[in-house]
Amino acid sequence: MSFICPDGHSSATPDYCDQCGVPMIAREEDDDTSPATRQRPCPVCGEPRSGDDRFCERCGHDFTASPLAWEAIVTADRARFDRTARPDLAFPSDFEQRRFAVTGTEVWIGKGRPSGESPPEIDLSGPPEDPCVSRRHAVLLRQGDGTYALKDKRSTNGTFVNDSPVEDDALVPLAEGDRIQIGAWTTITLKTR
């Protein structure tokens, strides 16, 4: 059996990553019937789970359902742009919503491909392009309970989640509806499908 650490390594040990030594947040999915995993809060809304209840008391999420399918919806946020962006930047007039499937242990957010590398899973390149997003801006890391957590990869202009800045190297757990805010206007909303 293997476990995925917050830095995305595959580890044979469940307590600390056997590659980088960071503490494991949670176990891999194939083990999520264990008592420790069953007592985790609701992966959708974060409500603590009481006992062995099947459904979340707040949002009705079925804890026995198959692993969650997540997607990222990218929009341009006019209000934030007006509040925070540099005056020399223009807000895009025709931004079409973009959708990305969020799967796998590591989902990168960034822009285009530096020569030779594969592009990020959530690739924000292409017009209209947000000039303040880094090539490798942030990463979503799958946790043992099937949810994702975000890490800013020391991007030039930083990352916000629901308007709160993300500290360097901090791992921010995400839930349904959370907004990841980067660059001048880019907002990525996390949804379950």
Binding site: Y16, C17, D18, C20, G21, V22
Partner: protein, 436 residues
Amino acid sequence: MTTFTAAVYQNEYLPPDGSEVNAIVTVTSDVGGPDAGVGGRDAGAPASAPETAEIVIIDTSGSMAVPRRKIKAAREATSAAIDCIRDGVAFGVIAGTDRAQLIYPSSPELATATAATREEAKRWVRSLKAGGGTAIGSWLTLALGLFETVPGRVCHAILLTDGENQNETPQELDAVLARCEGRFQCDCRGVGTDWQVSELRRIASVLLGTVNIIPDPAEMADDFRLMIESAMSKATGSISLRLWTPQGAHVAFVRQVAPTIEELTDRAVEVNALTSDYPTGAWGRESRDYHLCIKVQPRGLGEEMLAGRVTLVEGDSVLGQDAKIRAIWTEDRQLSTRINREVAHYTGQAELAECIQEGLEARRAGDEANATFKLGRAVQLASESGNEGTMRLLRAVVDVEDASTGTVHLRRDVAEVDEMTLDTRSTKTVRVGRPA
């Protein structure tokens, strides 16, 4: 069945960007249940004790006849040792000069201990005469060949000498040691004052044994008996301390710090890129302390990292629970500047051994100022840590004016045997007093 427990003593908090993680790991073996005697000496043969082999190597060079009671004491001590060898153990006796001679048994293999073979061996030992040179490498080579006739046994030897290795170059001895390393353990004893402490220490160190001085030949028999009994009480084969460290980490040192100081860093045998084994030999019912120093890549404030994972292994079987050495980065200086008591204690004990060896070296070289400084620091450290055994030995070499400041005067009338005793036993440590 032998199981091991490992406990970690450390301050896991590091300042921002701090990279050095220190920890003391106390490893305790549990042999044959809680009723087995402390130190293994009173314990009966453990039910699952491995099969063992034992060789006594006696220096019979010409100097052993000066004075005559030295060779006489060696004969008596060897007989005493033979009496302690349990039935069924494969054993033999080697006499060493500038070549090695198998005294017992007569064929080039080991005998099986019974009442009859023990008596026969002792008859041969009584006939030992002194004469010839000293080539320790040839003695060890013969012992290695004999041990190879009994594969699968836990092998142990006692080596007694009274002089330095004259008929071999240090390189020849090194080559022999490299062949013997990991094949058998060897406790080394020097009698009189004509042997080299550093030479015997090196042999004992590579062969995972103890080294000691027998100042008076009359004490030899008791010492031999203790060594054999200790060897017979071992209940395991070769045990290694296995250390995992994370990517980007570097093992600064691994040092046994109790019951004696023993550097293990260079003995690392790589298991994989992140894991190494450090051989520790056979274990009886006992407890040993290790000081580990690991350099890691710092992580962010508030983050935690496993800096090391220690297990005890026999081959690739893990025996008992692991011990975790952790690192947590914090801005709280109250947390990060606290020095763990165990780490501080054993850092002092290691410095104590180093000061004694360097102080005696300086004294021999005629550098009195440096000798006074080093031995003074040793007195201060021995006094602070309550290492009374070492303090007593130091008092034979220096007059202590004020132990708390390390103010001492070199004594003029130092007996060579006192100096060598201090040198040999400088690595003996005391354990930190832990609240029960």
